[in-house]
Structures are given as structure tokens and as C-alpha cells.
């Protein structure tokens, strides 16, 4: 079997008993990238020499024994995490070729744990988008159907994991950017509790919502990666001071007696059968395993999209002001004066979706509109969080669809921003409330397009997500399904 399809946990076992070398595994991934990425476009940067050097070092470490937990495991990194040995572009012309002088806390921790970083993955520009089509470096294609999008903004990472280009990946999730592409590619993605994973060195989109997390082939793998990524970081004032628990311990816990809430607002009448049926079967599985299914209500759910599209652009408009052509990144040619330097650098450096959100954010913060929009949205955000808090007094975990539909066609929603925004309708609330949520595959529509199930936990409830998700994966095999390899040039 080609080792690129192993789970991280399986590969770690083979590496430890020396039946597979880190170099072999890394070479296999690089070969898979060569075979498929001209079509899939999952990577913006492939760092072959660095990856092979890291793999060689991993083999030496493995030979000595007592290697750290991720030694020799090849990972793909969303191009939003700053790295000192490869460029960080955030999918934008603005940062094309930008080499940061510092390393993000997430990648630093992964490297220290022995991981081999294969390269940086494609994404919607500055993480703004739900299809990886707003990238300056071209769209990423879904390996299950190259005419469809992989979702976004962490589309490149999702595809790398789904197509066997990497064994695991990092993503970031501001409104669903880990979970929605995980669902559309049939992989497992976790958005941890806000503050659980450091944001240091992660290019900011909307600071109060952004959260990094793992994208993997199984819940077990997600727990393994999170263990390294999580923990307090003195460089991030919003990072949670407490040490993370041992996540592996939660995996084998039974779900017998667990109360799983089904929020009625997440199962509207319009929900397609493509999504409804697999989720129904998942509920039945949990029932058979002894969990109790409890109907609950989250009454402010319907305000989430509006609230999010006030708060996130507001923060983004401010976070993106630093891209002004003065200090780093893209600068326009021959500016006439300072205003021209600012205007043209930003006009030429940013794509349409980023500009749309900057304008929206500038508008909702401007004097005269602040109270009507920003302040009101902050209040609604509180109400949404209160809804969840009330629900978690009744149940241990919530079960919902991850996305309203399976992967959509490339270009299908690019001219209709609101339709695009609605792809995150089931994920956005979680970011507004700062909660952890897991997306895992629970079906294949028409045998070829993955369907995702979302589990939402209370604050710092990653353990109950791992417990529930792992129980599902021990009793189903949706997470073992792989798309057929695509040949280069497979898509038109």
C-alpha cells in the first residue's frame, strides 16, 4: 500500500518500529504532489529540499529511539502560518514572496515535535472565502470531482489530506474554514476553543474569531496533532493559560449515556436529502451505541450570518490596513505621492473579495454606523453564546450538519457573495461563541461527494468531541474512503 494513505497514527507506528522510514514517506508524498498537484493546485509552495532534510533528521532521531511524537510525519501547512524557511503568501498578491523573519507558534511546535513540513497550501486570499477560489494563485480543485471546489478557506490543506499529498495539515477557521472544507473533502477537521491554540505568527483575518486547528484523516489523528499545537503562548495575550489535557485519554471513552443535542435550527425543512439522510444514519448509530439524542433549540441561530459579516470584516478592515505598500509586501510601480502609493498598492495587491470586506468593515465601524451595526452585532454575539451555554446545561455535545450541501461547482457561487457566505451557515455560530467543533465524514452523496457531520462542544470541550467522534469512526468507515487519484491535466 502506498504509505501516503496512512493515518498519522498508523504511520507513526510504522516509523517507530522502523518498517517505514521518514525519508521514504516524505518522498512518497512529494511524488504524489508531483503526480497530482498540477491539477489539484493544493500547494502554493512545495519545500522539497527542506522537507527531505527534515525527514533525514527524523530518521536519525528515530534510530536513536525516544523521538518526539510527530517525528517523521509529513504535514502540509496552510499558507497563513509564518515560516522562516519558505514564503508566507496568505493566498494574496500582497504577500507574494514574503519571507517572514519569525516562525509561527503552531509551526514551531510542530517542527519541535519532529514533523516534516512539506510546503504551504493554497487558501482563499487572507482566508476570505469558502471555496479557495479567491486565491491569487488560482483555485484548488476537489479531488473527489476536479470540477468542484474543495470549500475554503483551508481548501488546499483539506485537499492535501484527502488526496494523499500529506498525512495531515494545519488549517485556520474564522467562520468554518477548517470544518467546511473538511466536510467537502471527506476528512476530519477540528476548530478548537478560541485561545486553545496560539495565533502568534498566523496572519490575522478577524482576530476575535480566528483559530488554528488540525485537518486529518481521523479523529485520533486530530487529537494527536492538537496535542502538539495546543497550549499557552506568552506571545499571544488571548491564549488560554491552562495546559491542555492528554487528548488520547478521551478517545476510548464510551458514549453510552452521553447526551447528544440536536438543535432544531440546524435541521431546517429545506435541508437537502444529500445531507439529511447520512446525518440521520449517524444519529441512529449513536443511539445504538447508547447515546441519548435530545432535541434542543438555539433561538438566535438565524442572526449568525449577519452578525459575522459585520464583526469579521470590521476586524479585517483594521488588520489589513498594514498592507500599505510602505514596509513589506507588494508596492505599486512609480507612485505619484503617498495617497497614490496607498491606493494603488492596495487596489493592485488585494483581490475583489478582500476589497469587498475591507469596504464593508470600514463602513460598519464608521461614525454614525458603529452603534447600528458593530455594537449591535456585539450584543447579538453575546446572545448566540448564551444560547449555546443554555444548551450545554442540557446536553454534552451538539450534532449538526457541517455544510448545507456537498461540494459545489467551481465558479458556481463566485458572482454571488451571499450564496457563498451561506456555505458557512452551520459553522459560523461556533466561532462567534468561541466554542470547539469537529467535522467528520458521515457519508458519500451518490457514492462520490463527501458529507460532513459537525459535533460542537462546550468551551474547552475538545475531549468530548474526540470521545464522540472517535466512537463514530470506530463504528463506521466513511473516514477511510479516498478519492481516486487524479492525473495531471485531468481537469480542463
Amino acid at each position: 500500500m502506498n504509505p501516503v494513505h496512512l493515518s498519522l497514527t498508523e504511520a507513526a507506528r510504522l516509523l517507530a518500529d522502523r518498517s517505514l522510514s521518514a525519508t521514504e514517506l516524505t518522498r512518497a508524498c512529494l511524488e504524489a504532489i508531483r503526480q497530482q498537484d498540477a491539477t489539484l493546485n493544493a500547494f502554493i509552495t512545495v519545500a522539497e529540499p527542506q522537507a527531505l532534510a527534515a525527514a533525514e533528521q527524523a530518521d536519525q532521531q528515530l534510530a536513536k529511539g525516544d523521538a518526539p511524537p510527530l517525528t517523521g510525519l509529513p504535514l502540509a501547512i496552510k499558507d497563513i502560518f509564518c515560516t522562516t524557511d519558505m514564503p508566507t503568501t496568505c493566498g494574496s498578491r500582497m504577500l507574494k514572496g514574503f519571507l517572514s523573519p519569525y516562525e509561527s507558534t503552531v509551526t514551531r511546535r510542530l517542527r519541535q515535535a519532529g514533523a516534516v513540513l512539506l510546503g504551504k497550501t493554497n487558501m482563499d486570499e487572507f482566508a476570505m472565502g469558502s471555496s479557495t477560489e479567491t486565491s491569487h494563485f488560482g483555485p484548488t480543485r476537489n479531488p473527489w470531482d476536479p470540477e468542484r471546489t474543495p470549500g475554503g478557506s483551508s481548501g488546499g490543506s483539506a485537499v492535501a489530506v484527502a488526496a494523499g499529498l500529506a498525512l495531515g495539515a494545519t488549517g485556520t477557521d474564522t467562520g468554518g474554514s477548517i470544518r467546511q472544507p473538511a466536510a467537502l473533502n471527506g476528512i476530519t477537521g477540528l476548530k478548537p476553543t478560541y485561545g486553545r491554540v496560539s495565533r502568534y505568527g498566523m496572519v490575522a483575518f478577524a482576530s476575535s474569531l480566528d483559530q488554528a486547528g488540525p485537518m486529518t484523516r481521523s479523529v485520533e489523528d486530530a487529537a494527536l496533532l492538537l496535542q502538539t499545537m495546543a497550549g499557552h503562548d506568552p506571545l499571544d495575550a488571548t491564549s488560554i493559560p491552562e495546559d491542555p489535557p492528554r487528548y488520547a485519554d478521551s478517545l476510548e471513552r464510551s458514549v453510552k449515556g452521553l447526551k447528544i443535542g440536536l438543535p432544531k435550527e440546524y435541521f431546517p425543512a429545506e435541508l437537502t436529502d444529500a445531507i439529511r439522510n447520512p446525518l440521520h444514519e449517524a444519529q441512529e448509530l449513536f443511539r445504538r451505541l447508547g447515546a441519548e439524542l435530545v432535541p434542543v433549540s438555539l433561538p438566535h441561530t438565524s442572526y449568525a450570518i449577519q452578525t459575522y459579516y459585520i464583526l469579521a470584516p470590521a476586524e479585517a478592515s483594521s488588520n489589513l490596513a498594514r498592507y500599505d505598500g510602505v514596509k513589506f509586501g507588494y508596492r505599486c510601480q512609480q507612485p505619484r505621492d503617498l495617497a497614490d502609493l496607498y491606493c494603488r498598492s492596495r487596489a493592485e495587491g488585494f483581490g475583489a473579495e478582500v476589497k469587498r470586506r475591507i469596504m464593508l468593515g470600514t463602513y460598519v465601524l464608521s461614525s454614525g454606523y458603529y452603534d447600528a451595526f458593530y455594537r449591535k452585532a456585539q450584543k447579538v454575539r453575546r446572545l448566540i453564546a448564551d444560547d449555546f451555554a443554555a444548551a450545554f446545561r442540557e446536553v454534552d455535545v451538539l450534532l449538526t450538519p457541517t455544510a448545507p450541501d456537498v461540494a459545489f461547482r467551481l465558479g458556481e457561487k463566485t458572482d454571488d457573495p451571499v450564496a457563498m457566505y451561506l456555505s458557512d451557515i452551520f459553522t459560523i455560530n461556533v466561532n462567534l461563541a468561541g466554542l470547539p467543533a469537529l467535522s467528520l465524514p458521515c457519508g458519500l452523496h451518490e457514492g462520490r461527494l463527501p458529507v460532513g457531520m459537525q459535533l460542537i462542544g462546550p468551551p474547552l470541550g475538545e475531549e468530548v468531541l474526540f470521545q464522540t467522534g472517535h466512537a463514530f469512526q470506530r463504528n463506521s468507515d466513511w473516514h477511510r474512503r479516498r478519492p481516486q487519484p487524479v492525473a495531471n491535466g485531468a481537469a480542463s
Binding site: 508566507t88 517572514s100 505568527g201 478592515s317 489589513l320 500599505d324
Partner: protein, 483 residues
């Protein structure tokens, strides 16, 4: 002119004396080569985050407690958004709706001893921006980010000041307080204390405010006063010509001695403030505030009261001596040296410090810290007077030389033979010679015309070059004349 009164509020930006910047570890040292104190955090590179300097918080709390303001247990940072090349993030982190200190006051006193309480609206923390350099580079500008991220306190007064002089007194008082607290060096030339003034006029007796203008770029107390006085005249002229004041921001041009328009209210920025999402709300426990309060140094007002009570000084004297911490320290150090030598003369020391010393420093344009005569040297000079080694008059002369040449008082007295002659024999010999040379005056004295005594004393003093101990001279002369 007397028909109007000026209404002034000051916004003082005080650079806090932290070793490192407020959100990163870069040094705050002044005068370093451009862009040598810059890191990815203060240059706002993508993905970096601010981490709060606890010392800056402590300094702001200390200041809030010293002005008797309310130190809030929950405050919040906000972003103030605008584009400028020396503002790398495109926003300034500041405090807006929930500042760390609300309310407070400072008391000022004019030369007539009239005391006035000036309200303080708030103190909030913010970061400094960088500096744009336009000189010597045709067609281009450079940006120096050394200052970027340096912690500032903005201390906003109520519009309680009523003259340029009062504004100056307030600033001096505030500067002395900040220095005493050790939170700011108060150096206006280096920009560690900067001031914007909001100025309006209104007919005397009116209770509503006129339209105000904000004057920026004031870098010395003198310029604050000049700018306010100039701006006040401008307003009066406009109003008396039947015009009305346009609310705007103006710049002070110290070379031309005038203010000029910088931007009008219409072009004013919309700063789009919102809570800084990279920093959680700043929480202070009552315990921490109490701990900072307990560690406050003696404040100028407290010291002034103690000077009055312990040293028997007048309110005015105590006020002058405690106006600057260094001056009060100078005074108390000198007193300590005197005490060691067994003398107590606070009033005498105060007179010397306020009269001779401050007079000299003022004439020479020096600060107390630059005084050529140290507090110990002054004390040793006074001890010589108290011990009778030299006369008070001699001491003034010696002090002049100490200022000019920086010498030790004992050495100057010895070199120039200025010590008083207290040798009975020498004085007696001088008296004998004077009496022998002036038989007529001696006869007059003995006939009851005792007024000639003064003439005879003068003659003996002249003979001894003024060094005869006056007390001894009187006693001996009286005896000889009787004899």
C-alpha cells in the same frame, strides 16, 4: 481684551519610563540610530501580536492614584484606525471608551499664593507612533520606527485653566508629579512630555464655551504659553471683527510665533475606534491597586505640608521648595549635613536655596540637577557661617566663587584668607592703633557721644580687612573705651 476670558484644556502625552516598549521587548532609549530599535511586533508584520508590558500599567495606576482619580478594575484597549507612514499597523492601540483612570485633579498656585484646583478628566494608555523624516532626501521621505510602540499616558485636563500662565503652572506641577512618581522624565525637548492645548474664548462671566481650536506640536512650557496667548488674541480679533471661530486643529510654529491651520473639522479623521481584539480587557484587582498605592512615594503636596509642619516654613517657601523633587531633595540633603554637624537652621537653608541658589540657576538657565554647587557643598558653607568661621557677607562672596569655579568652600576660604579673625590679641592691637590715631573721637565718646562707636568699629574693620569677628570686636572696643 479684558472683556474676554480664555478657556483652556490640556492633553498631555507623557512617555512612560519603561525600559521596553509597551507591546514588545524593544528598547525605548532616546537618540539611537534610526530603526535600530524595531522588531516585527512594532513594525506590525503579519501575524505578530501585542503582549502588554506590566510596568506601563503600574505606571498609569501610580499616576491615577497620585491625582486621586478612580483607577478602574476593568479597562479596555481600542484601535484608532488611520493611515500614516509612521503608523505601521494602520492603527494605534489606545484606550477609548474604558480608560484606566477616570477623574482626578491637580492643584496649582500662582505667585500671589492663590490656589486653584484643576480637574483631570481621564488618563489613558496608548502607544506612540514613529517619525517621518523629510529633510535632506529630495523627493522622498524616510520613516524611523524607533519610537513606535513606546508607551504613553495621555492625561486630559478639564477645561479649567483660565490663562496661559495657569496652563504653564499646571504643566510644571504635572511634570513635577510625574518625575516624583518616577513614571516620566518630563523632558519636553526630547519629546517625552508633549502637550496639545484646546483653546477657546468667551465673554467674561459667560458660562457656555466658545468654539475651540486644538493646538498641536507644543514642545516646551514656554511654547505652550506663547501659543495659547497668540491663539487667544487671534480669537478675540476674529470675534471683535464680527467673525466666528472655525473649529479646527492648528499647528504651533515656534519660529514664526504663530499657529496655523492643520485641518478643519470637516476633514477630521473618522478613526473607527473599536475594542482591540488581540488584547483581553485589562483587569486589575483591588489588591494590586492597593499594593501600588502603598508603594507610592511621598507626593509633592504631602511633602509641602511636611515642610511647613516640620521645618516651620511658610506655605510659599514650602511650595517653591517642593515644586520640583530635585529641589526638595537638595534642600533636605543640605539640612541633613547641617544636622550631622549639630546645627538646625531650616529657614536659613531655605533662604539660601531659594535666594542665592535658584537666583544663580535662573540667571544661568540651569536646572537644579545641573547646579555647580552640590547640596553638601552649600551645607558646608553654611556650617562655616554657623560656626563663626566666616561672616554671612563673606559666605555670599564664597558662594559666588563656588558657582563660578566649582571649588570647595573650605578651600576658597583658606586660599583667599577669608576666615574671620577671632584672635583677641590681633583685634586688640588693631583697636589700640585705631584709638591712638583718633584721639578726638575717643574724647567725644568718653564725653557721652556714644554715636561715634560706629565710626570706630568701621575703622577697626577696615584695618582688619573686614575679617574681625564682629562680636569680639564690639566687646573689646567697649572695654578699651571705658578704660
Amino acid at each position: 481684551m479684558s472683556a474676554y476670558e480664555v478657556v483652556i484644556g490640556l492633553e498631555v502625552h507623557a512617555q512612560m519610563l519603561t525600559a521596553s516598549k509597551i507591546f514588545c521587548g524593544c528598547s525605548t532609549r532616546f537618540g539611537a540610530e534610526a530603526n535600530t530599535q524595531v522588531c516585527p511586533v512594532c513594525a506590525a508584520f503579519p501575524g505578530v501580536l501585542p503582549v502588554l508590558n506590566r510596568q506601563a500599567v503600574e505606571f498609569a495606576v501610580r499616576t491615577g492614584l497620585a491625582i486621586e482619580g478612580e483607577v478602574r478594575t476593568v479597562s479596555e484597549y481600542s484601535r484608532k484606525n488611520y493611515f500614516y507612514p509612521d503608523l505601521p499597523a494602520g492603527y494605534q492601540i489606545t484606550q477609548y471608551e474604558l480608560p484606566i483612570v477616570l477623574g482626578g485633579h491637580l492643584e496649582i498656585e500662582d505667585e500671589q499664593g492663590r490656589r486653584r484646583r484643576i480637574g483631570i478628566t481621564r488618563i489613558h494608555m496608548e502607544v506612540d507612533a514613529g517619525k517621518s523624516l523629510h529633510e535632506g532626501i529630495p523627493g522622498a521621505s524616510w520613516v524611523d520606527l524607533n519610537r513606535t510602540g513606546v508607551p504613553l499616558m495621555e492625561i486630559v485636563s478639564e477645561p479649567d485653566l483660565r490663562s496661559a500662565e495657569e496652563a504653564g503652572l499646571y504643566l510644571k506641577k504635572l511634570r513635577a508629579l510625574l518625575r516624583c512618581l518616577g513614571v516620566c522624565d518630563g523632558n519636553m525637548e526630547q519629546g517625552s512630555l508633549r502637550c496639545d492645548a484646546n483653546v477657546s474664548i468667551r465673554p467674561k462671566g459667560a458660562t457656555t464655551f466658545g468654539t475651540r481650536c486644538e493646538i498641536k506640536n507644543l514642545n516646551s512650557i514656554r511654547n505652550v504659553q506663547r501659543a495659547i496667548a497668540w491663539e487667544m488674541e487671534r480669537h478675540i480679533e476674529i470675534v471683535e471683527d464680527g467673525g466666528s471661530i472655525v473649529q479646527e486643529t492648528r499647528l504651533w510654529d515656534a519660529n514664526k510665533g504663530e499657529t496655523r491651520s492643520m485641518r478643519s473639522k470637516e476633514e477630521a479623521h473618522d478613526y473607527r475606534y473599536f475594542p482591540e481584539p488581540d488584547l483581553p480587557p485589562l483587569l486589575l484587582t483591588e489588591e494590586r491597586i492597593a499594593k501600588i498605592r502603598a508603594a507610592l512615594p511621598e507626593l509633592p503636596e504631602q511633602r509641602r505640608a511636611r515642610f511647613e509642619a516640620d521645618y516651620g516654613l511658610s506655605g510659599y517657601d514650602a511650595g517653591v521648595l517642593t515644586a520640583a523633587m530635585e529641589l526638595a531633595d537638595y534642600f533636605e540633603t543640605a539640612l541633613g549635613v547641617l544636622r550631622e554637624a549639630g546645627f538646625q537652621d531650616p529657614k536659613g537653608v531655605a533662604n539660601w536655596v531659594m535666594g542665592d541658589l535658584l537666583g544663580y540657576l535662573n540667571r544661568s538657565g540651569l536646572e537644579i540637577g545641573d547646579s555647580p554647587v552640590s547640596s553638601t557643598q552649600l551645607a558646608r558653607l553654611l556650617i562655616m557661617v554657623l560656626e563663626g568661621t566666616i561672616s554671612g557677607k563673606m559666605a555670599k562672596q564664597v558662594f559666588g566663587q563656588m558657582c563660578a569655579s566649582g571649588g570647595e568652600p573650605e578651600a576658597i576660604v583658606a586660599e583667599q584668607g577669608l576666615a574671620q579673625v577671632s584672635d583677641q590679641g590681633a583685634i586688640a592691637a588693631a583697636i589700640d592703633a585705631v584709638l591712638a590715631a583718633n584721639p578726638a573721637q575717643v574724647a567725644q565718646y568718653r564725653a557721652g557721644k556714644t554715636q561715634v562707636m560706629g565710626f570706630l568699629v568701621g575703622q577697626v574693620m577696615k584695618a582688619t580687612k573686614g575679617q574681625a569677628n564682629p562680636g569680639l570686636l564690639n566687646t573689646l572696643l567697649t572695654e578699651k573705651l571705658k578704660g
